[in-house]
């Protein structure tokens, strides 16, 4: 057992209101520089929809992630042999057209326009060329199903849905959508890292954050194609790849990442998971239907004395283990099995998990109230407006089982709380539902509390970084202090 600790995440999709506050918080801190203008390390998509960059989930096109090959796994887009033809021209790399051309507006025209019969306008200007442009797409172009016949209808997750199901999804009064906020998943088996010819990308040992070493990136662009979530972006000005850094300077000082901190819906949770790094290769290679269970089994119980012993042996600090014991992520992912990895079939073993959304599912209720007395207490989930197949493709590794399990539990908790607080559902039925959903009253209460009443400190359980001890172990702290300097000597620029 090779215990590693990782700062992991849960997004509760039922609570996301699609306000994009998270994206703006991130943009203002990290990506408002020239060359990063088109990047959205955090973005919020409407599902069904084609997302950002358009059709990122279409791996026939972008060849992201891993695939099985002769009993092993290999990167879909590149590899030791295939690097040579791909390095000059990467056939799977998205271009700016797949994202969008970033723009601003010619605001000064509003003030400087000569007097005339019409109101002056602020024409859009490209942030790349500085010329006037016609805006053709943007990072959330299909927000709230805008242009759904083009966008939502082409969502790759609709694969396997019948024509009726698809029509139903799009028809008036049946229309349904939910929000899907995305950041880098800081995967256990990151395709971006494995693809980099220069070894510039790496996973931090202490907390699992995946970073691009800006001084070693040489613009070979393998990572851009290899990440199946399209969460490495290419800075077109400096000629370097950049990605979400999980606000590590904030995390190291005990603050939540900006998108977490600012989240209006309070949908985000952050905490340590301990996992067994020896099993990464084996689990990534499991048959698709076993991947979710496989990844869950890699996540170790932080209260188990054997695990603690091994963690200490690996140099994991006691405070980190304590933090893992209090981790909300551990509860959602491993104990309650409510949070699921997105597209685990890409085999990168993402460390960001999503609680599937119940709201659009349950909204199918007929007018006239709750169907709680029905014989089959969960029938409405299976007849949901978002077909289970769709959620299964997104969060269930292509299968509905795990999503169904989570939704049944979520529904039973809701019914239970309804019985307790409103009283129009009888407690007996509610408890029977809990039982059928593999949930106890105690667990239901805990889920309710962490979902609805959670405080800031319950949502973000950040371990102390212990950088000072790591430095102390290696050299004289005073010497380190004098030697670190102030970072880059000159501003990041393009070439010499």
């Amino acid at each position: 057992m090779n215990v590693r600790s990782q700062i992991s995440m849960v997004f509760h999709l039922d609570k996301c209101i699609g306000c994009h506050t998270c994206s703006i918080a991130c943009k203002n801190i990290w990506t408002d520089r020239k060359g990063t203008d088109y990047m959205w390390w955090n973005n919020v998509e409407t599902k069904p929809g084609t997302g950002f960059p358009a059709l990122w989930e279409d791996q026939d096109k972008f060849k992201g992630g891993w695939e099985k090959h002769n009993g092993k796994i290999r990167l879909k887009s590149t590899g030791k042999g295939r690097i040579i033809p791909n390095i000059f021209h990467n056939p799977n790399m998205p271009s700016m057209d797949d994202y969008y051309e970033p723009w601003t507006y010619d605001y000064q025209n509003l003030f400087n326009a000569p007097e005339g019969p019409d109101q002056p306008t602020a024409k859009p200007i490209s942030m790349v060329t500085g010329e006037y442009i016609d805006i053709e797409s943007g990072p959330n172009w299909d927000d709230d199903l805008g242009g759904s016949p083009i966008y939502a209808a082409n969502d790759p997750n609709l694969e396997g849905l019948t024509k009726e199901q698809r029509l139903q999804l799009m028809s008036i009064e049946q229309l349904v959508f939910f929000y899907f906020p995305r950041i880098c998943n800081h995967c256990m088996n990151p395709a971006c890292v494995a693809s980099c010819p220069s070894g510039a990308l790496y996973k931090r040992g202490e907390d699992g954050i995946v970073l691009v070493d800006q001084k070693r990136c040489r613009a070979w662009r393998s990572c851009i194609a290899a990440c199946p979530y399209k969460k490495v972006y290419f800075n077109w000005f400096t000629g370097k790849s950049e990605k979400c850094i999980l606000c590590f300077p904030r995390i190291e000082t005990g603050q939540a990442p900006a998108c977490f901190h600012s989240c209006v819906g309070r949908i985000r949770y952050l905490g340590v998971l301990l996992y067994d790094a020896d099993r990464i290769e084996e689990v990534s290679n499991l048959p698709q239907e076993e991947l979710i269970d496989g990844q869950r089994s890699m996540i170790l119980d932080p209260n188990d004395s054997h695990v603690i012993e091994n963690a200490l042996k690996n140099g994991i600090a006691e405070s980190t283990i304590k933090s893992a014991q209090e981790s909300p992520v551990y509860q959602y992912v491993k104990v309650w099995k409510l949070a699921l990895p997105p597209h685990i079939e890409y085999r990168t073993l993402p460390m960001l998990f999503y609680v599937p959304p119940m709201a659009p599912v349950m909204a199918q209720q007929k007018a006239g109230g709750l169907d709680s007395i029905s014989e089959n207490l969960f029938h409405d989930i299976e007849e949901a407006r978002v077909p289970m197949k769709f959620l299964g493709n997104l969060l269930g590794g292509g299968q509905e089982g795990k999503v169904l399990y989570a939704l049944r539990k979520e529904k039973s908790v809701r019914w239970y709380r309804r019985a307790v607080t409103v009283g129009d559902v009888d407690l007996e039925t509610a408890e029977r539902m809990l039982k059928e959903a593999d949930c106890t009253v105690k667990e239901a209460q805990a889920i309710y509390e962490l979902t609805s009443l959670c405080t800031f400190d319950q949502r973000f359980v950040i371990p102390p970084a212990h950088r000072e001890e790591a430095i102390e172990a290696l050299k004289d702290p005073m010497e380190h202090k004098q030697g670190t300097g102030f970072g880059f000597l000159s501003g990041p620029r393009r070439g010499l």
């Binding site: 271009s95 494995a194 290419f234």
Partner: protein, 224 residues
């Protein structure tokens, strides 16, 4: 008779060029490693990108390998060329690769200066580099056509000259009698070498060889 011009160009310039290459590259790597990048423009323009980058790189690498081979093992080349069919084959292959390079190079230049996004990321160094490379490839092709059988005479007369440079005892007698075209090709080659460390060509120095034997995943611990 070697003129001052010849001495300057063939005995002094090569050392200035190589010295500049080494000194500036090392210093740039040490203090400005951030600037080492191929400065890819594929994100900004992805349609004509293939038709520029692929022919150019395959072409130039093959041509470069040919020059290197003739320098390292002239005898092997000469004995290969002893049969006329094999000589033709080598010459035609070399010429084809050079033409491929030129096609790619022209495609690169056209692509870069006809696309408004690419113009934004073009620098004077790019323009100078294109000019040097075009001159180099065009003179190379002209030599192949006007003074054929270069694979033989390179091995017989240029290799000894280059070797004399390497042992710091330049013997330019091999060069002085050569046609102007060939002289220009050689001088321009030294200019490319000297200008190299100031351009994106430094990407050649950091081609990713450890990739072939490192483990797929990279983990770094603090302080490493």
């Amino acid at each position: 008779m070697s003129s001052y011009f010849d001495i300057l160009m063939f005995a002094a310039l090569p050392y200035v060029a190589v010295f500049t290459l080494l000194l500036v590259s090392i210093q740039r790597y040490r203090s400005q490693s951030f600037t080492f990048s191929s400065l890819s423009t594929q994100l900004l323009e992805n349609k004509r990108h293939f038709w520029a980058m692929v022919p150019f790189h395959y072409g130039i690498l093959a041509v470069f390998a040919g020059h290197l081979l003739a320098f390292l093992m002239p005898r092997a080349i000469l004995s290969w060329n002893s049969a006329p069919m094999r000589l033709y084959l080598l010459e035609v292959t070399g010429l084809a690769c050079a033409v491929l390079t030129l096609v790619g190079l022209i495609a690169m230049i056209v692509r870069r200066f006809t696309n408004s996004k690419l113009r934004v990321v073009s620098t004077p160094a790019d323009v100078i580099l294109y000019a040097l490379l075009v001159f180099q490839v065009v003179t190379g092709i002209a030599i192949a056509v006007i003074h054929p059988w270069g694979s033989s005479w390179f091995a017989a007369s240029l290799t000894p000259y280059l070797r004399s440079l390497f042992i710091f005892n330049p013997d330019i007698s091999y060069i002085v009698g050569m046609p102007m075209l060939i002289k220009l090709h050689i001088i321009n080659a030294f200019l490319v070498v000297g200008f190299f460390p100031f351009t994106r060509l430094v990407h050649i120095l950091v081609i990713p060889n450890p990739y072939l034997w490192r483990k797929p995943q990279v983990v770094r611990w603090y302080g490493e």
